[in-house]
């Protein structure tokens, strides 16, 4: 047994050594360059990436090796920070979260020469620009919508979903008191993601922006937390707790709020597009009773926090031109259309005009409007302190919603903390 495993080990070593030799040969051969793409780890994208990489190889003769990264965003960031700070040439193309430009921008090359910025939504391009360079190319996006119960709107004589927060409050109050009187004690007017975490940063940024209250930290570094608009927005949100939304919303993340809506206990919900596919499947109790719209607004209009993923080329890559070519290919209209068929939101307005896609994914017609109102989280203005700033911010908002601190005191304190953090 032991001899067997020794032989096996020896064999493995021989193969490994032979493998190394082979690899050296290919990279010495200018005809066949291999670039490494640290890509998605989830099922459908894994398959689509592989398909596109094969096509790319057929077209250009450049081979793409897909390395699967961690599926957890925090772990993926930690891995990137490790090999980028070691200036490793082992990975050429990186898959990056929308909140990373400030964290990784220094290590990425400018993609402005291979990406036509005018073909994408301006918010995404603005988010991905770091110190004047386009460091990330938009891959696919995510932006929240307002889910509403069509049957209840009809029942209470509303023709359209709410366009403003005031309308939402009025409709939610009426529907909720009616449904509760009818015996549904758990019924809520509006559910959102109020648990203390990144989810709350996303929700709160929308409230603040739609009240014309700024974006937490502007790209130039100005802190916008204790603004008039923000104070109005959070005073409003505080009022929701105990009226149209239960105290329980302070513990909800995306899934908890979805389950409330799923079980028919909510008239309105703010959530991401992934909910659509799940709740439209025939075994959902509300599959034929809901639709989506853009989020309500106030004097700052409607605002939707931008989420999603991008592609970047490492500065330490040995094949920068080839890697850039691959990034351009993967973010092209054709590639974005292919992914759109599976519900991954394109960030090229042109793809939304495609009728075949519109038929397959009906909520896309809303998404164009959503992206036009998209607001980026302050990853550029906060640089490498994004995580800390976000934590200070959602802590403050959570303490307001829970009634632990008055609006103004909490925001003033958070603004001080953020300023101190960014000064370091």
């Amino acid at each position: 047994m032991r001899r067997m495993s020794f032989l096996f080990l020896l064999l493995a070593m021989i193969v490994a050594v032979a493998g190394c030799g082979e690899e050296k040969q290919t990279s010495a051969n200018p005809e066949k360059i291999t670039i490494k793409f640290n890509g998605d780890s989830t099922g459908k994208l894994l398959e689509l990436n592989a398909r596109l990489a094969k096509e790319f190889e057929k077209e250009t003769g450049i081979k793409v090796e897909i390395v699967i990264g961690p599926d957890n965003s925090t772990e993926r960031l930690a891995a990137y920070q490790r090999f980028l700070s070691a200036k490793s040439p082992d990975v050429d193309v990186l898959l990056c979260d929308v909140v990373w430009p400030g964290l990784l921008g220094e290590h990425c090359v400018d993609l402005g020469d291979v990406i036509n910025k005018d073909e994408f939504f301006p918010t995404v391009i603005e988010n991905n620009t770091y110190k004047g360079k386009l460091v990330f190319a938009p891959f696919y996006s995510d932006a929240p919508m307002l889910y509403y119960r069509t049957d209840l709107l009809r029942k209470y004589d509303y023709a359209e979903p709410p366009k403003t927060w005031d309308e939402l409050e009025e409709m939610a109050t009426k529907i909720m008191s009616g449904e509760r009187r009818a015996g549904n004690e758990s019924f809520q007017g509006f559910v959102f993601q109020g648990a203390a975490g990144e989810n709350l940063t996303c929700d709160a940024l929308e409230w603040q922006k739609s009240h014309d209250g700024g974006v937490i930290v502007a790209p130039d570094g100005t802190v916008q937390v204790n603004t008039e608009g923000a104070r109005a927005a959070f005073a409003r949100a505080r009022k929701w707790i105990g009226t149209i939304s239960t105290q329980g919303n302070l513990t909800y993340k995306e899934e908890e709020s979805r389950l409330v809506f799923h079980n028919g206990y909510a008239a309105f919900m703010r959530n991401w597009p992934y909910v659509w596919t799940i709740e439209k499947s025939p075994d959902s109790p509300v599959h034929d009773k809901f639709s989506v719209s853009i989020l309500p607004g106030d004097k700052g209009g409607s605002a939707a926090t931008l989420g999603g993923w991008n592609l970047a080329v490492s500065k330490y890559s040995r094949h920068i031109p080839e890697a850039k070519k691959f990034v351009a290919f993967m973010t092209s209209e054709k590639a974005q259309s292919l992914r759109a068929m599976d519900g991954y939101l394109p960030n090229r307005p042109a793809v939304y005009g495609n009728e075949e896609i519109a038929k397959k994914v009906p909520y896309f017609e809303n998404m164009k409007a959503v992206f036009e109102n998209a607001v980026a989280r302050p990853s550029v203005g906060t640089g490498r302190y994004y995580n800390q700033v976000s934590a200070i911010y959602y802590d403050a908002v959570h303490s307001i919603l829970n009634g632990d601190k008055p609006v103004e005191a909490a925001l003033a304190e958070a603004e001080e903390k953020i300023k101190a953090r960014l000064k370091e």
Binding site: T246, L250, L259, Y265, N402
Partner: protein, 300 residues
């Protein structure tokens, strides 16, 4: 005499050397996985180190003075004590009752013994997530029973999301999960008590309560001590159940959660390490106090 003593001390020395040789691997492993990280954390607690930063400088006791001045840290110590004392006390009482019940022979005892262990066998994160959903104000089964079936409360309560109930919920979930540990430890202790003691007590006319007070409790003391020490150490370092149920909000932030947030949300390795060292000292102090307290009465 002298030569014999000399010979035996030579043997002692040889055996001592042998003992050290056998202990060496354990000591090496212990220092690698226990002492090195501890010393490294101690060092970091005196620096301004941050994640993703290559170099750091020594800042003396700045991190310690910062956390001591932070009201949230002091609150987290208080929360941890409230959590630790109430959960361990309840677990001891319920565990004791459970142990006494499953120690009595009856039909189906084996099944009951196995059933009691189930909560303990589920990983905390999984059971805490399960309870989080059961306690949900909207679709949770607890509110469903209390509001719609029993009508004991008028409106659903967000058990893990209000300042008045969150800590009680965290303690309840911890008690549910951990009382089997006490039951198991005490059951082992109970089975070590000779049946003759109870027989002679009965002959002398002792009541059930007297038997419990005079025989069971004193003889169980070593088992109780070990169980309470182990559980208290765990309770003082509590993180998982709090993090999953409340993320440390609604007045439930324990020192463990506070340390995690400093380390991984605010990415302050320096301050976070200082909190960890403070927690280590708290736990260490507890162990010393507890072991001395438990030793004293034995002598008298």
């Amino acid at each position: 005499m002298t030569s014999a003593a000399g010979a035996s001390s030579a043997i002692d020395r040889a055996q001592g050397r042998l003992a050290w040789m056998f202990l060496c691997p354990a000591l090496v492993i212990l220092s690698l996985v226990g002492i090195y990280p501890l010393l490294n954390t101690l060092y970091m607690s005196f620096t301004d180190s941050e994640a993703g930063q290559v170099s750091s400088t020594l800042v003396g006791f700045r991190n310690y003075s910062a956390i001591v001045r932070d009201g949230d840290f002091l609150k987290s110590i208080l929360n941890t004590l409230v959590f630790g004392i109430s959960s361990v006390t309840l677990e001891l009482i319920i565990g004791m009752v459970a142990a006494l019940v499953i120690n009595v022979p009856f039909r189906g005892r084996a099944i009951l013994r196995a059933a009691v262990l189930i909560p303990w066998a589920i990983p905390t994160v999984v059971s805490a997530r399960m309870w989080e959903w059961m306690l949900n104000d909207s679709f949770g089964v607890i509110n469903d029973i209390a509001v719609r079936k029993l009508h004991v409360i008028a409106e659903p309560i967000a058990w893990t999301g209000t300042n008045s109930f969150a800590m009680a919920s965290v303690i309840a979930v911890d008690v549910w999960k951990t009382f089997p540990f006490f039951a198991l430890m005490l059951l082992a202790g109970l089975q070590g008590i000779p049946a003759e003691l109870y027989e002679s007590a009965r002959v002398d006319g002792a009541t059930g309560w007297q038997q419990f007070r005079r025989i069971t409790l004193p003889l169980l003391k070593p088992a109780i001590t070990v169980a309470v020490v182990f559980r208290s150490l765990d309770a003082l370092r509590v993180f998982d159940v709090v993090w999953v149920l409340t993320r440390g909000k609604f007045g439930t932030e324990s020192v463990g959660v506070y340390a995690y947030r400093q380390l991984f949300e605010y990415i302050n390795a320096g301050t976070g390490s200082a909190v960890c060292i403070a927690l280590f000292l708290m736990v260490f102090l507890f162990v010393i106090v507890y072991t001395t307290l438990m030793r004293e009465p034995e002598r008298s």
